[in-house]
């Protein structure tokens, strides 16, 4: 994967101060609009937008490669020992009756899994036994054979602070009052539906939810599906096909890539959030047409996400909309992480950039993250949604959403919109924005390298070296903090990171505790790679004290 860093050691910063000399009018354009908001709106919209991707010092990259090289060498050595018979092979083996079949897996495909992942896999798939709220309980598991098998000791690790679950607005809760309607629907409907939307499972509850989603987003109509991943992979083929062009961002999620592949359209990838690359591709595509035949393209679809979950960066929505209008392309916006989490009232990136929702042709999102349920939706104008009702793979062949899950989304959305009579929803949105600002500012001040936009509640902290990644995860668990670490292949090989997902349910004390431990662990493991001057955060300090 290509990294998006500038030349070695130089900071790439899009701030209001520097843009006066650049020709990028669009950057200034959306900034000015934000200032029109009144003082009652949350802190987020008053600050200039920063997206920083600092590059680490050279020695870090060298050490990272060395680390991987060493592990690979050891991997070959261990494979040799296993082949020779000096070491026991713990992996499951093929059946004796099928030994002469073509092997199901090639040895080199599993090299990485066998020799690197196995040694450190206690940091993933950690089972929990409570609700995934701001604190949770982990099941204690130990391994007697270096992570090949686990066994549960029977004890739990209680009250671990959860900074890994996607619980942005804190709707992962089991408060009996809040869940009253969900319990009622479970009692009335049961949990299954046993049919598809087009056949016998189009409940009036689903229609109520779709109406609510359309109102929430400010569009004409919407349609909901049972799984967020499947929303992308089953609906993109219904919208584009052979003879169409898809311009997809470099860091798009697997579900978008799978949907694009299944559609049969031509896919071209533009550099992450890079408007020049996108414009160049648009011009070239329209001028030369389809490959080899040069027939004009039937449709051009630009696929982007609201917040990219591995980078924490936010899409440059106003610029993309300007480009889309100029070249008559269509825009598919996947707001899996940004719906409910950004914007003054939680309406997502369209609200953050103050963009008319009619400009985004297809708005897609999921209910897993900010609404504490599961499933996805696609919203837009009525013609689009009617087309999907007839042609979506999910409507014809896959089961509808479960009734209690539907009710959970309905009550969460009503809470955010304020329809249940209180301002609990808007309080949570503001709390999340405040938590985000505070956490990011404190981390930067400590000297960690953080990627992403200042408004995004997804905070990736770069750790680079594989051994440090693992040590960090284990050390934080010792201190009762559950973090998520990601490495290759989900990220570029030299950019392994820890990813924090903040929640409106985190209190200031919890965040302070996490930051305190981060400080200690950062010093212990030498993780504070940043070499920037730290003058940008003073005003935030004033806000919080």
């Amino acid at each position: 994967m290509v990294t998006m860093t500038a030349a070695n050691g130089i900071l790439k910063q899009h701030s209001k101060q520097k843009s006066s000399k650049s020709q990028d009018v669009k950057v200034n354009g959306h900034q000015k609009k934000i200032q029109k908001h009144g003082p009652g709106i949350s802190v987020a919209s008053r600050q200039p937008r920063h997206e920083v991707f600092e590059q680490a010092p050279m020695y870090v990259a060298v050490m990272t490669y060395l680390g991987f090289g060493l592990v690979t060498l050891f991997g070959y050595f261990r494979d040799f020992l296993r082949a020779v018979g000096l070491e026991k092979c713990h992996q499951a083996q093929e059946r004796a009756e099928q030994k002469d079949f073509v092997p199901l897996y090639q040895d080199f495909e599993n090299f990485y899994t066998r020799n690197l992942y196995m040694r450190v896999r206690d940091n993933w798939n950690r089972p929990i036994c409570s609700l995934p709220g701001p604190v949770f309980d982990l099941i204690e598991r130990v391994s007697d054979d270096y992570n090949w098998t686990f066994r549960f000791t029977g004890k739990t690790i209680p009250n671990v602070i959860n900074v890994g679950s996607y619980n942005y607005l804190g709707f992962a809760e089991n408060n009996v009052d809040f869940l009253k309607t969900v319990a009622e629907k479970t009692q009335q409907f049961g949990v299954g539906v046993c049919s598809t939307r087009q056949e016998m499972a189009n409940l009036s509850l689903h229609q109520e939810l779709e109406q609510l989603v359309a109102n929430f987003l400010g569009v004409e109509s919407s349609m909901t599906f049972g799984m967020g991943f499947a929303t992308n992979s089953m609906n993109i083929p219904a919208l584009v096909g052979k003879g169409c062009l898809i311009l997809s961002d470099e860091l798009n999620h697997t579900s978008l890539i799978l949907g694009a592949r299944l559609s049969g359209a031509t896919i071209r990838v533009f550099k992450h959030n890079n408007m020049h690359s996108l414009e160049k591709m648009l011009r070239e595509a329209i001028c030369s047409g389809q490959p080899r035949t040069h027939r004009p393209w039937k449709k051009i679809l630009i696929m982007v996400e609201g917040i990219y979950s591995m980078e924490g960066s936010v899409v440059r929505l106003s610029e993309i909309i300007a480009l889309k209008k100029k070249y008559r392309a269509y825009l598919y916006l996947d707001e899996a992480h940004s719906i409910g989490a950004v914007g003054p009232t939680g309406r997502g990136v369209t609200e953050l950039f103050n963009v008319n929702t009619a400009d985004v042709d297809i708005m897609m999102g999921t209910f897993t993250k900010s609404f504490g349920a599961c499933g996805g939706y696609i919203a837009g104008n009525k013609v689009l949604v009617d087309h999907l009702r007839r042609h979506s793979h999910s409507a014809v062949y896959a089961t509808a959403m479960s009734p209690p899950v539907t009710e959970q989304v309905i009550r969460a959305m009503k809470c955010i919109m304020g329809k249940d009579g209180g301002n609990e929803g808007i309080r949570r949105v503001r709390q999340l924005a405040e938590n985000t600002r505070y956490f990011r500012a404190r981390l930067k001040k400590m000297g960690f390298i953080i990627y992403g936009n200042d408004d995004s509640p997804v905070v990736p902290i770069l750790l680079y070296m594989p051994a440090k990644v693992v040590a960090f995860a284990r050390e934080m668990l010792e201190r009762r903090i559950g973090v998520v670490v990601v490495g290759f292949p989900a990220t570029p090989i030299t950019e392994a990171r820890a990813r924090f997902c903040l929640s409106a349910a985190h209190t200031r004390d919890m965040l302070d505790l996490v930051l305190h431990h981060m400080n200690e662990v950062g010093d212990l493991l030498c993780l504070k790679f940043s070499r920037r001057n730290l003058g940008v955060c003073d005003d935030v300090e004033h806000e919080t004290h």
Binding site: Q93, E199, H391, T399
Partner: protein, 472 residues
């Protein structure tokens, strides 16, 4: 002769030493250049025209895309869904009328089972609704681990893995094992989820006629001959057979013992999709392997969804650890998607409990299926498609009008007539342009354990009336 050659060699070496340096360097560079040209790919000259800026601007001005979605006629049947108010259980309220439900896949009647609901409520109180993360990032709950071990024990396999959506189960399992260059033999009547899995895998797909073992054997023999021509490639090409236990499109059963014989003869692996037969066939509901008495280890992978007999949401794959464990890192629907909500998993566990406690339920269902099958045999004007043990049958028109649309309209009018008479039926829905082998239009009739003798008589008389009134 040898001495002469040797003498020439010495002279050559001498000349080599005496040549000036630039000469040697030049020769060296030329040799390297020749080597590079020999090994570089041949290229074709691209068309060397270049557009001027003005031409580009003109092209951009002129280009008009198609509309994002094609315009639709208002009376297409699928735009207006039938609305169900209230739970889709035995008595279903559809479009305002209360009907007997012959259309939901609620085979064991577990949709409104009180025990299941209580367990789901208890789980709701403890865990809330969503899991807020994929399995790898704190989305693994003890409920998931329990459900996986219960399913593995129930099916008598080593391991099971659960997915949060039934469609995604087989559609993620096939591409996890079969990659570009591998070969998959699949039945023509395979359901849409399997077709999407095949498309995502990018392998060579070879279709054999539905349930025709001779056709499959012919294809396997041809492949064997191909392999003998190119043994090196054959040693790394994986081969799979994908079949369904009980086909949803044709309501019949696959001949599993013959398939196992072919598996060992031609060394292909079998993937079995049991969405319709799990919880239906077999003495204890273990599916088509129990029905035929086939050793479960002979099937490499069994995949099923929990949305039919189990009346929950999601799906699972089970088999040996050697096979299943691979999906934990390569199944796309598993790694990149949030896990199953715990209350749905708890409901599935309780459904499994009920299935294990009361295996008579399967023989009751079997009897009812046979009864309905024979009752629907003699409706004039409609042809029954399926086998007596299938819980979901198809009724097609005996005489087709020639146009699919008219056939669909006729069947739709029959369905609407039945709904007016308080019997809920549905048309079997397909995406006409996307299916590879589009089945004929039909009405789906689903049999559940909750239906009584009177219900069956009512649906038969309703259908007979509808046909005699509407199909003239």
């Amino acid at each position: 002769m040898a001495a002469g050659q040797q003498w020439v060699l010495v002279e050559m070496v001498q000349a080599f030493y005496e040549a000036p340096a630039y000469h040697l360097i030049l020769e060296g560079i030329l040799i390297l250049w020749i080597i590079r040209l020999l090994f570089s790919k041949t290229y074709r000259l691209h068309e060397t025209y270049k557009l001027t800026e003005k031409e580009k601007e003109d092209l951009i001005e002129e280009w008009q895309p198609e509309p994002l979605v094609p315009p639709v006629s208002k009376d297409h049947p699928s735009v207006n869904y039938d609305v169900v108010t209230g739970p889709p259980s035995h008595k279903i309220v559809i479009n305002g009328k209360e009907c007997i439900n012959f259309a939901s896949f609620n085979f064991l009647g577990l949709l409104d089972n009180d025990r299941v609901k209580q367990k789901a409520l208890a789980s709701l109180k403890k865990y809330g609704v969503g899991t807020c993360g994929p399995r790898g990032f704190y989305g693994t709950f003890d409920v998931h681990l329990e459900l996986e071990s219960r399913l593995a024990k129930f099916m008598k396999t080593e391991e099971a893995i659960i997915y949060s959506y039934g469609f995604a189960t087989i559609a993620s399992a096939i591409p996890a094992y079969s990659k570009r260059g591998d070969i998959i033999f699949v039945d023509e009547a395979a359901c849409f989820a399997i077709q999407k899995g095949l498309q995502a895998s990018r392998s060579f797909i070879k279709y054999f006629k539905h349930n025709d073992m001779e056709d499959l054997e012919r294809l396997l023999r041809e492949q064997e001959q191909e392999d003998q021509k190119n043994p090196r490639k054959a040693r790394v090409t994986r081969k799979f057979i994908v079949v369904e236990g009980l086909y949803i499109n044709t309501a019949d059963v696959c001949p599993l013992p013959e398939l196992v014989k072919l598996k060992y003869q031609y060394k292909v692996r079998i993937f079995l999709e049991e969405s319709m037969s799990f919880g239906v066939l077999g003495e204890h509901g273990r599916g088509v392997t129990e029905h035929f008495g086939v050793n479960i280890d002979d099937i490499d992978l069994i995949s099923a969804n929990m949305e039919n007999a189990v009346a929950s949401i999601g799906g699972f794959c089970c088999g040996r650890s050697f096979v299943i464990d691979h999906q934990r890192l390569s199944g796309q629907g598993y790694c990149f998607s949030a896990s199953l909500p715990p209350m749905l998993a708890a409901a599935a566990i309780e459904a499994l409990n009920i299935m294990e406690e009361d295996p008579d339920i399967f023989s009751v269902l079997k009897e009812k299926c046979k009864h309905v099958y024979h009752a629907l045999q003699d409706i004039p004007g409609l042809k029954l498609v399926g086998v007596p043990i299938a819980p979901a049958l198809h009724l097609q028109l005996e005489r087709t009008t020639g146009s699919r649309d008219t056939d669909m309209q006729q069947l739709r009018s029959i369905v609407e007539y039945c709904i007016q008479q308080n019997v809920a039926l549905t048309l079997a829905r397909y995406l006409e342009k996307e299916e590879r082998f589009l089945p004929a239009p039909s009405i789906r009739v689903v049999i559940t354990v909750e239906q009584t003798e009177e219900d069956v008589q009512k649906v038969v008389s309703c259908l007979k009336e509808a046909v005699s009134t509407l199909l003239k």
